[in-house]
Symmetry: D2
Subunit: 321 residues, 4 copies
């Protein structure tokens, strides 16, 4: 799809969306906020993102319940206006690089009361006592995430939250849906392209929620959250209308669904992938359906947010002739 972009594959201009330029971060993605930047299709943007807790959690003795204030979580940079973007188009976001910010970069993981995959929550309401609050501060660099004395994990950066604006709604930055949002897919890292449906003039791109690494499903509810300098290119594909976000990596095309229950997210993802294979790769619908039953790949983004995110994927080598 990349070759269809208005920008033609090369960045004309590089913009710097520093914290200062951003000013106020956003906690809801919609058509009602003031743009911070306008770019041409193909332009590069260097974005200074804040971690999902906006730096509020600094010590392992901190209590998230005392420092976090719903719904002001998961701060987003943007909205970035893309010239010429109209409802019915698609924006392509190339993630070029993600570099930790600061001298001694540290990430944060924590257990938050009534949040996470193995606890009662505001939506899966239980009478049990909440789990304890636990905070982990984790040193990291561009090679590794130093989880503990015992465990070191590779640095696998990706963007947790990426969106264009809905048409008339404004959706908090914790919730993924068909506009994108808090999808938490580990595949959305450097080298990937995310396709987002444009529903509002100028597209209004929001980005944030950098993760230094994350497991499938983000089971405790929190990844290694960190502040990053994220370099992206934003291109525009005119007249390509998609219903849900899509993702492309070196090896895969992926369609993303976000819903509850989790099977509905999976259904959306697989149906969108079939539609993609039919529309762009010449497959018959039933052949695609039965073929994916043999070689489809499912990635669980998260099953902890207000909606859950799943990607259904297929290897490019299988679908291209």
């Amino acid at each position: 799809m990349a070759t269809r972009g208005v920008g033609g594959g090369s960045a004309r201009q590089t913009h710097h969306l520093t914290e200062e330029r951003q000013g106020t971060f956003h906690y809801t993605m919609g058509p009602y906020s003031e743009p911070v930047l306008t770019v041409s299709p193909g332009d590069r943007i260097v974005v200074e993102t804040r971690d999902a807790f906006e730096g509020a959690i600094q010590h392992e003795t901190d209590k998230p319940s005392q420092l976090l204030r719903m719904p002001f979580l998961n701060p987003q940079n943007g909205p970035i206006m893309v010239e010429g973007a109209q409802k019915g188009d698609t924006v392509a976001v190339y993630i070029e690089s993600m570099v930790p910010r600061g001298q001694n970069p540290r990430g944060t993981c924590c257990m938050i009361e009534e949040f996470g995959g193995l606890t009662g929550t505001a939506y899966t309401a239980m009478l049990n006592e909440p789990l304890p609050e636990v905070v982990r501060k984790i040193n990291l660099d561009e090679e590794n995430v130093y989880w503990s004395d015992r465990v070191t994990l590779p640095y696998k950066p990706h963007i947790g939250t990426l969106s264009c604006s809905p048409e008339i709604d404004s959706i908090n930055s914790l919730t993924p849906d068909n506009h994108g949002g808090n999808m938490d897919l580990p595949d959305m890292g450097p080298g990937s392209v995310t396709y987002l449906p444009v529903r509002s003039p100028g597209a209004r791109v929001f980005i944030g929620d950098a993760h230094a690494c994350q497991g499938d499903g983000e089971v405790c509810g929190v990844a290694v959250e960190y502040s990053a300098t994220v370099t992206i290119r934003v291109d525009l594909i005119k007249g390509w209308t998609i219903d849900w976000p899509r993702l492309e990596t070196a090896d895969l095309i992926m369609a993303i669904g976000s819903a509850r229950p989790l099977e509905d997210a999976t259904r959306i993802a697989y149906r969108e992938l079939i539609r993609w294979m039919v529309a762009e790769f010449g497959f018959d619908k039933w052949d695609a359906y039965m073929l994916l039953s043999q070689c489809g790949i499912v990635r669980l983004g998260n099953f902890v947010d207000p909606k859950y995110s799943v990607a259904a994927a297929v290897r490019k080598t299988i679908i291209t002739r």
Copy 2:
């Protein structure tokens, strides 16, 4: 709870929110729209609501797919500002009466493609062909709903969609959540009081979606939708903070949850009801939990919207001494 209202139980003033005064209807409920009216706690408001299709479906030969334009469905009157309402307060909406509008009032029911309880939808994505589009226009008066030659149903009017604004989000009028929204509870009719959490200055009350009658769950996705003159009183309870909407009828107190899957909506409703019994009626938590296991009443609002709504209720005779 009613006795706690600032308004003191009697309406000082009656406002008329006509179609003309309303001007543009709203399809998303949030803090970003222009108020159409400001009232004092206790005031009465006579609201001219439009049917959920805004009158677009007039004939049984009409095709909803040609006439309806997502997300511009389920038009809402408002926002109505309530003087003195602040985050942490609760608004009480008394529905006093609902009268069909027009000379020969007719309601509308229809089957909409990929919408309803027994069909694949945008969220429960299937590859099956959609169900046929069928439109029913139904004569009605303040006594009856004349469904067919064979079946006449009693007129049981209620409000499908009632909300205060979320704090920072703006949520389309098809979706219920903890702000209220499209709950579709048949108990929300004349004689009932709905309690809604205030999260935005002035509360910003939205109302619409009158139903002449509706079955539990609204299984085909559509009730008998009609235009009504709805008379409400809006009172304000300072300092009473609730997490989810609640409802009071002559016989019942009801707590409402909206979520997917349906068991999560039910969990929320029952947990909120237990919290209400503990906080206001002197029950021990475990006693309330076990007692509701013997006498709790569950009402299914809808299982067709982007989130499903359930009310858990208990008879007042059981909980008051």
Copy 3:
């Protein structure tokens, strides 16, 4: 449907299925157990049922975790063989009366670790500490259930678990499915008729789990469980094939679905009800679907068992001409 029974509406013979005659109770319903009784269609059977804990919980200081031994819970009487019953037929179980057993009848309610609607369970696995174990012993008679000093509830007896055997599976008595099982519907009381699909020669009827009363959803997981003398008549409808259990009361016909998530149980129930209205009451399929959207009644049996049970109902006055 009743008039179609082979038994012709009057009981030829009355059988007594005492505890002694029952001998070993059953905890799984299938085709592999020894029959305890063979009856002719229309015969009356007086059954001595044990409470769901088989009397193991006698004091409010008891700990269910020490006294209950999975999967040996919810003891069932039966299997009762019905002469002439073949796969494809339907058995009709008329509940005539339910009388508490013993001199000073007491029911039992309790909170069981990792069981119930508002707690993590074996299937909705959480890391939270379990809720406390609480036991309530409740005096009752044929008028009332004496819940506490404060609350007295009416005696509303019903059968929690009623089944014919599956064809080849044997299903534990905690789980409802299309064979019947642990449906926990408060409507299944004296005066009701339950229709169960026959899948095994002789039908193999199992019955147990008497409740002195129960709220919608059985939220804490346990009703007022008691030992009862249950008088039933069992009739046979040849050649009437149903996929899921159905229920008839004085006012309603009800179709029952059991599944997770709860919306799937609701879908099954409504689809079966539509099929019933089309096959037996002359409705067009889409008319039935849209009509139930206006007057359907949903009853939540339980949302605490391994599968959840929902009944969808319609008033007989609406569907009969």
Copy 4:
């Protein structure tokens, strides 16, 4: 865990469970069927499995609805008795090899009415017309699966259905649960070890449902089903009690959960994995929970069976010191 087996890692004896010796295949797994073989812990068994349709679908013009007869699907070999196995023990099944049977081995894929991930089913009941019936016969060998002129897939054989008997229930071979059953995990191939909880004397191992390859989730409901000669070794680990099946490959330890909705299957899998890490690898519970949020791997077995199966995994390199 392997090293703990009674069998000590080497097979004393090799048994041949041919079709002839098997005689009648089984469609339900429980304690009520006649053993076909008794083995010592550590013994090797060469099993001739039939495809999931028992060879009934031979031509692409066949109609599954005419040839398949519920519940007689997915034939299982067994039960195989393991000497010394008692409730509370664990059986370890090593899959050594899977070879296609017959001269010109062909697999079968098909679309079955009301079965699959993107269609209404018996449990997710819809009113939509079913999808068309489509049959694919696929040539295969030990290298490749020749899907179509366009697509060739690698041969990645695995076992779809593997179980020990439940204690008192008998569960049809389409349904996975905590006894194992129809889990459809592509990781369960040659080189893997599956751990199954013993609940019945002799364990009663059942095996069947060979797949030449399968995508995550088995989206159309059917893999490339084929008849295979499966060589396994069955060992016994005394006194190791597990609640759900587990799996070990060269790189991973995996815990398997089967439930609906899909998030519940995922919750079970992750909780069991945490318990494993705590019990056997010296992790603190909260550390394991938060660590898996960074490096957990989720595999979707199927989301098409009566219960869905998910595995949660972690790399051995991360958890071993």
